[in-house]
């Protein structure tokens, strides 16, 4: 056992450049998956009924109904569709149920079959049922707004990390001004000219990061690839994202920087022990952080009876495993390369 650990330790310490291939391959693979998915399915994620929209069927109820039985039946019969049931009431009396499914106008066979099933199960009269086809609950501009917000979030986060780990105050000033400039451009991006200018200014920023503060660059790349790789894995698993899933991705943004900042601080700002000592020291703390969260998530997943909770926890769990690779292989590798060059 100890032999295996020793061997792993040697590989980890000596072959860090080769190990860097793992996160790079993961990132490239993830980008390829998302690109392939966008081309073949026309969408970069799989959306559930809350994000995609679909059919809602409103059925007036006379008596009581076993909603759990109904839900189980529908899930068995339409496994590839996403179906949810809610109640309608007038004042305080339950008046009917409202069934939402990701079935669209074009798919007449399926919608007919679902309506038929529902009428037999609820003993409702076909003519009392009303049917609507609705759009996404997040609105058409939601994803565009989210992308803009996330790009700006990364620009801001990058500048904070640069302030902490960057070198001279001149560089910091230029970087802050350039970041603000880019943010304004991203917000006002209205025509092609401004978009090109935005692209240029962000490119200059990235060059500045690489040229003057590799460690800041490493933190941001780690956080960004956490999100991209997790998204690709979720896509491959075929999970249909709900609004809760979107929230989980935003949570990753908050989670992923913790370990990276811990690592950078310990490696760059401390003088205790050797470089490897400090990396292991950071790793001991960082892995404790990751393991507590992972254990909490696994416990949560095993107790969860709600799809919403399960989806959030699954995404976070995958994100954390990806973060372990991105922090302790990718970020460590970049930092060591940087320190080696500096010497």
């Amino acid at each position: 056992m100890s032999k295996l650990i020793k061997a792993l330790k040697t590989i980890y310490e000596d072959k860090y450049k080769i190990l860097l291939i793992i996160p790079i391959l993961l990132l490239v693979g993830a980008i390829a998956q998302i690109g392939y998915q966008t081309i073949t399915k026309g969408d970069f994620i799989n959306r559930d009924v809350s994000l995609k929209g679909g059919m809602t069927i409103i059925i007036p109820l006379q008596g009581e109904i076993d909603d759990q039985k109904l839900e189980d039946f529908l899930k068995d019969k339409y496994p590839e569709n996403d179906i949810s049931i809610r109640y309608l009431s007038s004042g305080t009396k339950v008046k009917g149920i409202i069934v939402a499914a990701d079935i669209f106008v074009e798919d007449t066979d399926k919608s007919e079959s679902l309506i038929k099933d529902l009428t037999t199960l609820t003993k409702a009269d076909r003519k009392d049922i009303s049917i609507e086809f609705m759009g996404s609950s997040l609105g058409q501009s939601f994803f565009k707004e989210t992308f803009t917000a996330i790009i700006i979030a990364f620009l801001f986060m990058g500048s904070i990390v640069f302030l902490y780990f960057g070198d001279t105050w001149q560089h910091k000033t230029i970087m802050i001004l350039l970041t603000l400039f880019s943010v304004i451009l991203v917000y006002t991006s209205s025509n092609i000219f401004v978009s090109i200018l935005t692209g240029i200014s962000i490119a200059v920023l990235i060059i500045m990061y690489i040229r003057f503060s590799i460690p800041s660059f490493a933190v941001i790349v780690a956080a960004l690839s956490d999100m991209i790789i997790t998204l690709a894995i979720i896509n491959i698993m075929g999970i249909k994202l709900s609004t809760a899933g979107i929230a989980a991705f935003l949570m990753l943004l908050g989670y992923s920087v913790d370990t990276d900042i811990l690592l950078s601080t310990r490696v760059l700002k401390r003088k205790e022990g050797s470089l490897m000592d400090r990396i292991y020291w950071a790793m001991k703390t960082g892995l404790t952080m990751n393991i507590t969260t992972i254990v909490a998530l696994i416990v949560g997943l095993s107790l969860s009876q709600s799809e919403v909770i399960s989806q959030i926890m699954t995404i976070l769990l995958i994100g954390l495993f990806v973060d372990i690779i991105n922090t302790w292989i990718q970020n460590v590798g970049i930092l060591r390369l940087y320190l080696e060059k500096k010497r």
């Binding site: 949810s84 809610r86 109640y87 309608l88 009431s89 007038s90 004042g91 305080t92 008046k95 409202i98 106008v105 049917i131 086809f133 609705m134 759009g135 609950s137 997040l138 609105g139 939601f142 707004e145 989210t146 917000a149 996330i150 979030a153 990364f154 801001f156 986060m157 904070i160 990390v161 902490y164 609004t243 809760a244 929230a247 989980a248 935003l250 949570m251 908050g254 913790d258 900042i261 811990l262 310990r266 700002k269 205790e272 022990g273 020291w281 703390t285 404790t288 952080m289 507590t292 969260t293 254990v295 909490a296 949560g300 107790l303 969860s304 009876q305 709600s306 919403v308 909770i309 959030i312």
Partner: protein, 578 residues
């Protein structure tokens, strides 16, 4: 001895102080009984008996609770429904609430059909008449009888009319639950005329903006079609009553200010003749101090509100051009006014007339004061209604009119996506997740003196966040729960950093405890500022989900970093560092 020292440390005391505040703010009362009044329909028997609707901003635990009807105790919504369904019309009902006892009389429900015959009926009408009183001519209102020919009607009694109360099971805390957790009102709107896809998107955007400006943040808007291709807008709103929804959504909200027949400015910021700024703050909007509230009738109070706005340059020019030919008249006190008044129209109905000071004739003015009024049975109600009218007018001036009039097809009360079961499950998971964190930490450090303070710190963070949420009255929804999880999750990370920096193997390099804490907080603050910076753009992104998440996360991590985590550092210093 050491435990006593804990309560002398100021960081621990600050944490305790915030915890006390949080509990007071959450106001937990697990065995709350009765049903809380959500709304009272106007002109219903409940409203005639004097029961008032709660203000939308009022805190859940401070609302009026019905505890008994006709001496029979009402513990929950089922008791209430069961009893109300036994009532007949013209019956006297005693409703006991936690504030007072109301007596109301149920009304019969009529079905009125118009017949094909006509009849003569006498109506009372109020007309202004000039009369000489004490030697001066004054205009007074007089009531006269007018005879009109109207269609004959047939009235049948169908049964008992609804008493007009909407109620829900009394809440056990002050925490407001959002649409996801509590459900709300589902409204289906249909545009009055045919609209294109682009118009529909613009309409939805405009409605969303209007609801946001109005302060109804917890909404989902989406487009819907029926099988024959008719377009609808589907809206789900938490915590708004039906009347508010009708007022805000179904009315087009076309605002025009006219002098004579000329429109001088309009509502909305996009129009050239529009508004550039609308004041919402207390120093330039509110009940008009010069008029205030007064009793206008035996049973009627009226208040005037006013707020200032700035109109666009084009609109000021238009105003100057229109006013330059209007003659000035002087009243008894010697003040000059233009002969024509500034008339404010909302959806083509005159809502207010304002005198224009003589000195403004032909001048370009950009700052204008808008006023209006509201009435009510009590002074308090009149103030509330005028402020409500003001808010609506401000919203319309801010967002402009809808391009199409919308009709409400139907409104329903809808159950939440995540119900009671979800909350129970979430709490159970929360407890076990915290326990598992404590166990992992115990395995790592082998000390209960670390695990227990850690759990206490985590729990206090959650309580303080919830206390803050109920204090500012923000809705707890899925986004907020995600924010709380992030705050607590990064909180665990920070506590581990503090523990490792102070008690880890490397501590021999830094002997001084204060330095070790300082180094731990260097890392914590770097992570804090980075997350904070990442959340700010999400907060300003505008969309509900992003905003709610970013807001809770920022509040949560700030409470953690500035209140809870320093206290943890102090606790382990006292307990472990002899």
């Amino acid at each position: 001895m050491r435990y006593k020292k804990l309560f002398k440390n100021y960081k621990v005391l600050i944490l305790l102080l915030f915890l006390v505040f949080a509990i007071v703010s959450i106001h937990p009362n697990p065995d709350a009984k009765g049903v809380t009044i959500r709304g009272v329909a106007s002109n219903s028997s409940a409203s005639l008996a004097g029961i008032e609707s709660p203000k939308p901003t009022s805190r859940p635990m401070s609302r009026e609770i019905i505890t008994a009807i006709n001496q029979r105790p009402i513990n929950n919504i089922d008791d209430y429904n069961a009893y109300i369904s036994t009532l007949d019309f013209n019956e006297s009902v005693n409703i006991k609430t936690n504030r007072k006892l109301y007596t109301l009389t149920t009304k019969p429900l009529f079905n009125i059909t118009e017949l094909n015959e006509t009849e003569e009926r006498v109506f009372e009408e109020i007309v202004p008449v000039n009369r000489t009183i004490n030697g001066t001519v004054q205009e007074i209102n007089e009531t006269i009888n007018v005879t009109k020919i109207v269609p004959k009607t047939k009235t049948e009694i169908l049964g008992v009319d609804d008493i007009g109360l909407t109620v829900y099971n009394s809440p056990t805390t002050n925490i407001k639950k959002g649409l996801d957790l509590q459900g709300g009102t589902r409204v289906l709107l249909q545009p009055e005329e045919e609209v294109s896809e682009d118009d529909m998107a613009r309409l939805i955007f405009n409605l969303e903006e209007r609801l946001n400006v109005y302060g109804l943040g917890d909404i989902v808007l989406r487009q819907a079609n029926d099988i024959s291709g008719n377009k609808y807008i589907l809206i789900e709103i938490a915590g708004a009553n039906e009347e508010e929804v009708v007022n805000l959504l179904a009315k087009q909200g076309k605002f025009e200010a006219k002098i004579g027949n000329n429109t001088v400015f309009k509502g909305g910021k996009k129009d050239d003749l529009g508004v550039s700024y609308v004041c919402h703050s207390a120093d330039c909007s509110g009940i008009d101090p010069n008029h205030g509230c007064r009793m206008v009738d035996d049973n009627q109070w009226m208040c005037r509100f006013q707020f200032s706005i700035s109109i666009k340059p084009e609109a000021s020019r238009k105003q100057a051009e229109v006013t330059k030919d209007i003659p000035v008249i002087t009243d008894e006190s010697g003040e000059g006014y233009l002969e024509d008044k500034l008339m404010l129209y909302l959806d083509d109905v005159l809502v207010d007339e304002l005198n224009i000071a003589g000195e403004l004739k032909g001048r370009e003015v950009s700052d204008i004061s808008i006023s209006g009024s509201g009435t009510g049975v009590t002074e308090q109600e009149a103030v509330f209604n005028s402020l409500q009218n003001m808010k609506r007018l401000q919203t319309i001036l801010d967002t402009g009119s809808l391009s199409v009039k919308l009709n409400i097809v139907k409104t329903d009360t809808i159950s939440p996506v995540l119900g009671e079961e979800f909350m129970k499950n979430a709490i159970l998971i929360g407890i076990f997740a915290l326990l598992s964190v404590a166990i992992v930490v115990f395995i790592r450090y082998r000390r209960l003196k670390i695990s227990i303070p850690m759990i206490i710190t985590m729990l206090s963070e959650i309580f303080i966040i919830l206390g803050f949420a109920s204090l500012v009255g923000w809705n707890l929804d899925l986004a907020a729960i995600a924010g709380i999880i992030i705050a607590v999750g990064t909180g665990v990370d920070d506590l581990i950093v503090i523990t490792d920096e102070t008690l880890g193997k490397m501590q021999e390099y830094v002997s001084n405890w204060k330095d070790r804490i300082k180094k731990a907080f260097f890392i914590i603050m770097a992570a804090y500022f980075t997350t904070f910076a990442g959340m700010v753009p999400l907060w300003f992104a505008g969309a509900g989900l992003l905003k709610g998440f970013a807001f809770t996360t920022i509040v949560g991590i700030s409470i953690g970093v500035f209140i809870a985590r320093p206290a943890y550092a102090a606790i382990i210093e006292i307990l472990i560092n002899e």
